[in-house]
Symmetry: C2
């Protein structure tokens, strides 16, 4: 049994990309196994954008990694020695291995490891991608949140990434027209020629927005968003009425996570993502067929004093322009009216 | 019968507030009524933030008002003369009157007028506020989109406005803790003392965000958002997991609508609003209980070739920091892994 474990520990919080001071390589001793423990050696680390978020001391969907801790990561490890009947030599474990060569497992981890089965034609590493969190993210994000219907147009950003590439293909299986957005011609070619996306756009082309318009003649019904920022703004500008945005990632902003340079917009979309908010645009004219129902209820509340109101009434037809400005200057309380 | 109608016409598109060149007062002749027509005189105009949007030549939920047209507005008018059996003298009509003193109605308008009934204790003008579009907006926006549950915390911005003031009171009727945000101490006092909000915060106070934290000890479950910008960013920062944002208005940005000064963020939230998009933050760990279902389907798709994938594999434990950066530099295609 090995006696030393190499580990990448979080030594400083990054300000942008991961500079050499951020992760520190160190050795820690591996003690002989006790009853109930098993030793596993990592074969693959999954490298994911969210790791940059875990490094930042900001509210997020899991606790941030603390300084001095082994950096969190997903990975696949193989059991090499066991004093626990639930783990046998050769078992493949998928889960939070951390960025270290070895790990001691007990089966009592707060996020238990899954055993990866041996399946013909599948390599172990598939359990970190297509059959792992990326595939699962694409599957639930697109099907459960995006709710695609055959014939709809789906735009996927970071289309050549581990998640986007699967999301687009699931969109094709559902009968959607699928447009990918990626950052190089090579990526676009792969997505189009090998994965069967209907088309792909390199957002580094100066005319990418015009290309997006041409590629989405019926607008966009679903945006599977992995990028945020300018790319997302451009896609939102093509969305159809009642479209759906699966806000799955905001990689364009991640390298600034935790720095003071984050603009509030990005922070707001970050909050929507991390806290799984549902933000829904609402305009009352969509509810015309139910106005009668609401009017009766409102009238009842008003007449029984459960709802009170107040009016700011401006006298005179000629006051219309000033009255409109009052709204934006905050000079009215309650309902603003002009009386003629 | 009068022979002249005064009208406010859109003469120029505003760049910010409504300057004197934007709306032009002009006279137009009123011809004697023909069969099927009725004449109505406006008693009240409803003055609404959305009027500023209608003035801008940008995509929106109705066609923008064209230059030279009578400015669109909602209002209440009384029939003064009729040659149409559906309209009687004294009838009160609620709908798109336009900013003009008189209008000729036929009953064939694309947006038909509603007749306001005479109800004891209700004044005509209530049909433009609490029982009109503002009340209806608060009703459907909060109940249908926000889906409040008793005990939840609701934050309403523009809380002293025509819509926000009703939305907050409906929140109280539903058993929510309701916090209003408004732009003056007088407004806050009205909302709290007269309307029964639990508390109200003046966003012009330098410490309004600290006040918001204190006012929402259990976080925010629902944001009924009328304002956008800094106010909205601050509220989003207090949202609870799976919170809901009813994006009903973005008045902080309306006075810039149609100008080149609109920043892309605001434009994006504008798109979410105008196109009634649903934007939903998504993180796959919420679906742990269904991973088995998805894994089987993904495995089937992968093995039958319906889903293809690709890996970028970096060799060696010591490469971890560089590998993480590859994600943000766009240097991987497909799944990025480190093999040990």
């Amino acid at each position: 049994m090995p006696t030393t474990n190499r580990q990448w520990k979080l030594a400083a919080r990054p300000k942008d990309l991961v500079t050499p001071d951020v992760l520190q390589l160190s050795d820690s001793p591996l003690l002989p196994l006790e009853d109930g423990q098993a030793l596993a050696r990592v074969k693959y680390f999954s490298i994911d954008p969210t790791m940059r978020i875990w490094m930042a001391d900001i509210p997020q969907y899991m606790p941030p990694v603390q300084l001095g801790e082994v950096m969190r990561s997903f990975g696949l490890a193989e059991v090499t020695e066991s004093r626990n009947p639930s783990f046998k030599e050769g078992d493949k474990l998928v889960g939070f291995t951390g960025l270290q060569e070895y790990l001691v497992v007990t089966g009592k981890e707060p996020n238990p490891f899954q055993k990866a089965p041996s399946i013909p034609f599948l390599s172990d590493s598939n359990f970190l991608g297509t059959l792992g969190l990326n595939g699962l993210t694409a599957y639930f994000g697109l099907l459960d949140v995006g709710k695609p219907k055959s014939g709809e147009t789906l735009v996927v950003s970071a289309a050549a990434g581990a998640t986007g590439s699967i999301a687009g293909q699931i969109g094709k299986i559902q009968g959607c027209r699928v447009v990918g957005i990626a950052g190089s011609d090579e990526k676009c070619k792969w997505v189009k020629d090998k994965l069967g996306f209907d088309t792909a756009i390199n957002y580094k082309s100066p005319d990418w927005k015009a290309q997006l318009v041409a590629a989405t003649p019926s607008g966009v019904d679903i945006n599977f968003e992995n990028v945020g920022g300018e790319v997302m703004h451009g896609v939102l500008d093509r969305m159809n009425l009642n479209g759906r945005v699966v806000l799955c990632g905001l990689i364009s902003g991640y390298s600034k996570a935790g720095s003071s340079e984050v603009d509030p917009t990005l922070a707001s979309f970050g909050n929507i993502l991390m806290r799984r908010l549902r933000v829904q645009g609402f305009i009352v004219i969509d509810y015309v067929s139910r106005f009668m129902e609401a009017g009766q209820q409102l009238g009842m509340w008003k007449m029984t004093g459960k709802i009170k109101d107040r009016q700011t009434i401006v006298q005179g037809f000629e006051k219309a322009p000033e009255a409109i400005n009052m709204l934006f200057q905050g000079s009215n309380i309650g309902k603003l009216l002009i009386q003629l």
